[in-house]
């Protein structure tokens, strides 16, 4: 291939200008483009936090897998929890394009050096919580994530497109679950209302601190990493959700919630920001439990990784021998089987 330009300019002014022009033109920044160090760091932090949230987010709902009330609900919940794992993996992939290492990010999560969404530090006390998480928590996530499909960083935007396609299923299954319960007994309706009471305010906190207390937002918006302010997205979520609550027949636990006839938007009461700070900094009901479980998943399952690695090494050795055959390959991938001494094995099974 032709050699790319080898010399980097003495100063980054021209590179910065090219970067700024790309962002301003709404073109995407791709992994090998020059980018400001702050842009890279902000993206790694944001994407890692997002990935961690998906992975930790499997826990609150995963708790109900064995207690789902029917095979249908269990199959749905399994599919949803599996999706969350998938979303985490798409996002770790995007973070890796920025030079981050996946295992290193997991370690940072477990050591408390990187955060995940505060919402997953609340417990799922009843089965109605599964429905409310789908409706409110995934609904809030969709509000946050749809604009990120236009994020200036290509790999992140592409991951978000995939995530958003799947997230819609999450919200709808939750709402349908709640509609079903609301058609049931008084006890079931009370269960739904109780879950709404517990999850409403934490859901509003998912959008992060108010704009007046969000120091990084302006820069992130200038970079096209973020598209709307925290308060703007929160307002959008409230406006979308209130009619859904009315249809469902539940009361959102905010006496100040009212429609502003002039703007057509809903006014809502003050959010307890001290609670958000407390939960983010480790003082939520389930912080310790979530991280303990993630650490156990890493450490207790290490043998599976090791076994798969050992098995792969054994199979690679078998394939390298001329007698081996049978796997379906487009072409022999000799490079992966090149051994330490640099000697290529005889060309493996070409079958075309």
């Amino acid at each position: 291939m032709s050699a790319p330009p080898l010399e980097r300019p003495a100063d980054d002014t021209a590179l910065q200008a090219h970067f700024d022009a790309t962002v301003a033109a709404e073109h995407r920044i791709e992994p090998r483009d020059w980018m400001p160090e702050g842009y890279r760091k902000t993206l790694i932090r944001q994407i890692a936090q997002h990935a961690h949230s998906e992975i930790i987010g499997m826990q609150p709902e995963g708790d109900w897998l064995l207690a789902a009330p029917s095979l249908r609900r269990k199959a749905i919940l399994l599919a949803k929890v599996q999706d969350e794992a998938g979303h985490g993996l798409y996002l770790y992939s995007a973070a890796e394009t920025l030079g981050a290492d996946r295992a290193d990010l997991t370690d940072k999560l477990i050591e408390g050096r990187q955060k995940y969404s505060s919402i997953f530090n609340y417990p799922t006390l009843t089965y109605a919580d599964v429905g409310v998480i789908g409706w409110l928590v995934d609904g809030a996530a969709i509000c946050n994530q749809v604009p990120l499909c236009r994020s200036s960083y290509g790999p992140y935007a592409r991951a978000m497109i995939r995530v958003c396609k799947e997230e819609s299923f999450h919200q709808r299954q939750g709402y349908e679950l709640l509609m079903t319960m609301m058609r049931g007994t008084d006890a079931q309706r009370a269960m739904v209302q109780d879950a709404v009471d517990r999850w409403w305010w934490p859901s509003l906190m998912m959008f992060g601190p108010p704009d007046t207390d969000s120091p990084n937002s302006a820069q992130s918006m200038a970079w096209g990493i973020k598209r709307h302010s925290n308060d703007e997205l929160r307002q959008r979520f409230v406006d979308m959700t209130v009619p859904q609550a009315e249809f469902l027949g539940v009361t959102l636990p905010d006496p100040e919630l009212s429609l502003d006839p002039e703007t057509g938007r809903y006014r809502f009461g003050a959010i307890d920001w001290d609670e958000l700070k407390r939960v983010i900094s480790g003082g939520g009901p389930c912080n310790v439990e979530r991280i303990t479980r993630r650490r156990a998943a890493r450490d207790d399952n290490a043998w599976v990784t090791e076994a798969a690695t050992a098995y792969a090494a054994k199979r690679t050795g078998e394939r390298a021998s001329p007698q081996a055959g049978g796997t379906s390959r487009l072409r022999g991938t000799a490079t992966e089987e090149r051994n330490e001494s640099g000697v290529e094995p005889s060309s493996p099974e070409k079958h075309s």
Binding site: M1, S2, A3, P4, P5, L6, E7, R8, E30, P31, R32, D33, W34, M35, E37, R40, A79, Q82, D83, G86, L89, Y90, Y92, S93, A94, A95, E96, T97, L98, G99, A100, D101, R102, A103, D104, G154, P155, R158, A159, R162, E166, T305, A308, T309, Y311, A312, R315, T316, T327, R329, L330, T333, T335, E336
Partner: protein, 124 residues
């Protein structure tokens, strides 16, 4: 020149001769990244090309195909999967100013719209 993962978005060349944004000493130690990175391509349905959909880490080719099925085709997104180690992909520089693509820039006569044909000529 060696190749580096782009985590689902196409492997790219790296090496001392290629300008990169992160100095090698700033990169985290890759010692625990034991499983190679694979890029995944899915054929959505018969008649379509395989299209790059993302990446994953796997211990070997076969596990990579299984993992790709679980990760990228949970909703009938494909009828066929290719996986290839990211390190085995050779790529051009993605920079739009890459001189590699300059030869096609000034050859407008390769496009049908270059030729003016009177409107009353049928079927052309």
């Amino acid at each position: 020149m060696s190749m580096t993962s782009e985590g689902g978005h196409g492997a790219v060349p790296t090496g001392p001769e290629v300008p990169v944004e992160v100095a090698p000493e700033k990169l985290p130690a890759a010692t625990r990244r034991d499983w190679p990175l694979y890029e995944v391509f899915v054929r959505g349905k018969r008649g379509l090309n395989h299209v790059h959909v993302g990446s994953l880490h796997a211990p070997d080719d076969e596990m990579a195909v299984h993992a790709a099925r679980d990760l990228y085709t949970r909703r009938n997104e494909g009828v066929s999967i290719w996986v290839v180690q990211a390190a085995d992909i050779t790529a051009s520089s993605p920079d739009e100013k890459d001189p590699m693509f300059a030869p096609s820039g000034d050859k407008v006569y390769r496009h049908p719209t270059f030729y003016e044909i009177p409107e009353n000529v049928p079927h052309i």
